[in-house]
């Protein structure tokens, strides 16, 4: 097309020492536009009901097909109910969106794990568990928590709906290559400190915009010793410090996880894939634009007190008098605490709460429900607590049943709901009422995120469990038996 003749496009030169991010990115650059973005090829595209309908409308208006339907995988997760999923969705707009997703997938030959499918679940939970997320891939989805998949050594990030349309139309998007940041966490975390606490600690140190413009590689012994589920929690919240995404080099833990999957679509020779994946690591002399180092031994169980994920502190701490290194609190800071009904200098331990939510793409995997179960086993839910227990997928729900976790939850007075995004963004009925406090294992404590006026306190599954049985914000370390092996 002549109107684009002004843009100089060229192939990338091969650089010498590269980071893992460079290697994967450069391998997926179809062409670069001079002074402009790269044309980036996408290996895996996940879609869901909320951010895809307008993209399909766009294809229809242009009269074009989906270019590579086999590379897109769909699920219904954001707005679906977590009770009585076999019945028709009551909310008309939600029902319409879910139906449109089915129609669009049928029409274009896209694989859909819709409501009531035995493989349904939150997009960032089912992708890995069904073997669609593999090392070295570029992965996008119209959802900012796509960064989750970086745990497998992928470049995975959230995109807008127009970009969803670009991927459907051409399997490519236009992206400016971000800068590179390395975050190293050394040492061993203390008992009661989970991967959720590690990432919440990092965000509280560098703020919600501390990594804006960067793609992060996580490394260090406190990261490489984590399970895949725990790594996903870390990468998931990369976006909460502003990063486009975060990744971890694949290793034996990654390959073991993949090997245990029932099947991996598109991979015939697993061992030869592993030998290729083993090359996916940063060169020793590769340089990053910014490097940060943290000591895991300094991290305590974390909780947020404000209305962004950077407003977090150690559970036994007190709310800072001002944000960051400021001497005086800004109006934004005071507005945030006012919304939360909290004051600078307050301690949160012992503060009564009303709701507990465990689930979401951050902490809705089997290990999270095991960790929660270890705390509640043999105890009872506090009378003042309403608990929303929402598995991340049907597979997680099945696994909970198989391991006897459902029984433990029931005996402790907890009802387990059906999978979905649920109260993380409260698009369905699972809303926290105005003014009520919720200790939540999700990823965002924004104003109204869990319902208009809801007050969210982000924490790990075991901190949520401790709150659920005491009815107050409690230190999970008091509930951990030394011998028990709690999720790291």
């Amino acid at each position: 097309m002549t109107e684009f003749s002004n843009f100089q496009i060229f192939k990338l030169n091969k650089l010498e020492a590269k980071t893992l991010f460079d290697k994967i990115w450069d391998d997926h650059v179809v062409r670069s536009i001079e002074d402009g973005p790269d044309v980036l090829y996408i290996d895996r595209h996940y879609i869901h009901e909320i951010t895809s309908p307008q993209a399909f409308n766009g294809l229809k208006e242009r009269g074009i097909p989906v270019f590579r339907p086999g590379k897109t995988i769909a699920t219904a997760d954001h707005n679906i109910p977590t009770k009585d999923q076999h019945l028709q969705i009551r909310d008309e707009l939600s029902r319409n969106q879910v139906e449109r997703l089915s129609e669009n997938c049928n029409k274009h030959g896209i694989e859909l794990f819709g409501l009531n499918d035995s493989k349904n679940g939150i997009v960032h939970v089912i992708g890995p568990e069904l073997g669609y997320t593999l090392p070295g891939m570029t992965i996008v989805c119209g959802d900012s928590h796509t960064s989750t998949h970086g745990a497998f050594g992928t470049i995975a990030f959230g995109i807008g709906t127009s970009e969803v349309e670009m991927v459907l139309a051409t399997q490519c998007i236009l992206q400016q290559k971000p800068k590179k940041m390395k975050i190293t966490v050394n040492g061993n975390p203390h008992k009661g400190v989970t991967s959720k606490d590690i990432i919440m600690y990092i965000i509280s140190e560098i703020s919600t915009s501390g990594a804006t413009g960067y793609f992060v590689e996580y490394s260090g012994s406190a990261i490489t010793s984590l399970s895949m589920e725990a790594r996903m929690t870390i990468c998931n919240m990369s976006i909460e410090m502003g990063a486009r995404g975060g990744l971890i080099a694949p290793d034996e833990t990654t390959f073991d996880y993949l090997k245990k999957l029932p099947s991996i679509p598109g991979i015939d020779d697993f061992e030869s894939s592993v030998s290729k994946w083993k090359k996916l690591k940063s060169d020793p002399d590769a340089s990053f634009d910014r490097e940060l180092v943290f000591d895991a031994a300094l991290i305590k169980p974390m909780i947020t007190y404000g209305t962004n994920p950077g407003m977090g502190m150690a559970i036994d701490g007190s709310i800072p008098l001002a944000e960051g290194k400021n001497n005086e609190a800004s109006s934004s800071y005071l507005k945030s605490l006012d919304y939360m009904g909290l004051k600078p200098g307050m301690m949160l331990l012992g503060h009564p709460i009303d709701y507990v939510f465990i689930g979401s793409c951050t902490n809705g995997r089997i290990e999270d429900f095991r960790a929660f179960a270890q705390i509640i086993r043999g105890r009872k839910k506090a009378a003042n607590i309403t608990a929303l227990i929402v598995p991340g997928s049907k597979k997680v729900e099945e696994q909970m049943a198989a391991e006897g976790l459902l029984e433990i939850y029931k005996n402790a007075g907890f009802e387990v709901r059906q999978p979905g995004c649920s109260s993380c963004l409260a698009m369905n009925e699972d809303k926290i009422p105005a003014g009520k406090y919720a200790v939540s294992t999700s990823n965002r404590n924004f104003e109204g995120r869990q319902g208009p006026g809801a007050r969210t306190l982000l924490a790990s599954p075991i901190t949520a469990a401790a709150a659920a049985i005491t009815g107050r914000i409690s230190d999970p370390r008091e509930f951990i038996n030394e011998e028990k092996n709690v999720k790291k």
């Binding site: 097309m1 994967i24 402009g36 951010t51 307008q54 959802d143 709906t161 924004f446 104003e447």
Partner: protein
């Protein structure tokens, strides 16, 4: 994807001097159950515009008749959080054509450029000065010239050059569309697919 052109804009401003305004505030998730791009504008900052009781919050800037215009002057780290492009559609649908801040979240900025809502980054000092000027004199006008990449506060004479990716600039000036561009490259994309290294 709509083809929107942008060249020169002269307008009064609406000030929103809060930091870390996330896309959940711009358009709460419960309003995302639509399947078209239109009609989101009424719900811009829905939970700040209305009180819990359902009445209009007269203290909120969008309900204040002193302030109007096509330029939203925001605070630092605007548009963080969810990737929802609906946030940009909502601001555009409400009538804004440019957003000014000292710092934008990545995905939000990308979504702005795709939809013809011009994100302009200025220094924290100038942003503070602009907020002060608007508060004192709501008729304060700014002029944005995309071709020259200049942002000018007309009354004070402050004028700065703002940055924009040259590709995106040309797309906005000419009303070009990313998908048309990518579609024009389909043969090259197919060629790439047949010669892959890491992932088959």
């Amino acid at each position: 994807m709509p083809k929107v052109k942008f060249d020169i804009l002269e307008s009064t401003c609406v000030p929103l001097p809060f930091e870390n305004v996330d896309t959940d505030q711009i358009i709460p998730a419960r309003f995302l159950s639509a399947t078209s791009r239109e009609g989101f504008g009424d719900n811009l900052f829905r939970d700040w515009k209305y009180k819990k009781t359902g009445e209009k919050n007269s203290e909120f800037v969008l309900n204040n008749p002193r302030f109007s215009g096509k330029v939203l002057v925001a605070g630092k780290n605007f548009g963080s959080g969810s990737s929802r492009e609906h946030a940009v559609w909502t601001i555009f649908d409400y009538g804004f054509r440019a957003v000014v801040s000292s710092f934008f979240a990545d995905i939000f900025m990308n979504n702005c450029l795709i939809n013809g809502l011009l994100p302009i980054v200025i220094s924290e000092d100038l942003l503070k000065k602009l907020h002060d000027l608007i508060q004192k004199e709501p008729a304060t006008k700014v002029k944005i010239d995309l071709d020259k990449q200049t942002f000018t506060i007309i009354s004070s004479g402050d004028s700065v050059i703002f940055g924009i990716n040259p590709y995106k600039k040309e797309c906005l000036l000419k009303g070009l569309d990313d998908i048309d561009f990518l579609l024009s490259m389909k043969n090259i994309i197919t060629g790439y697919e047949t010669n892959r290294n890491l992932v088959k």
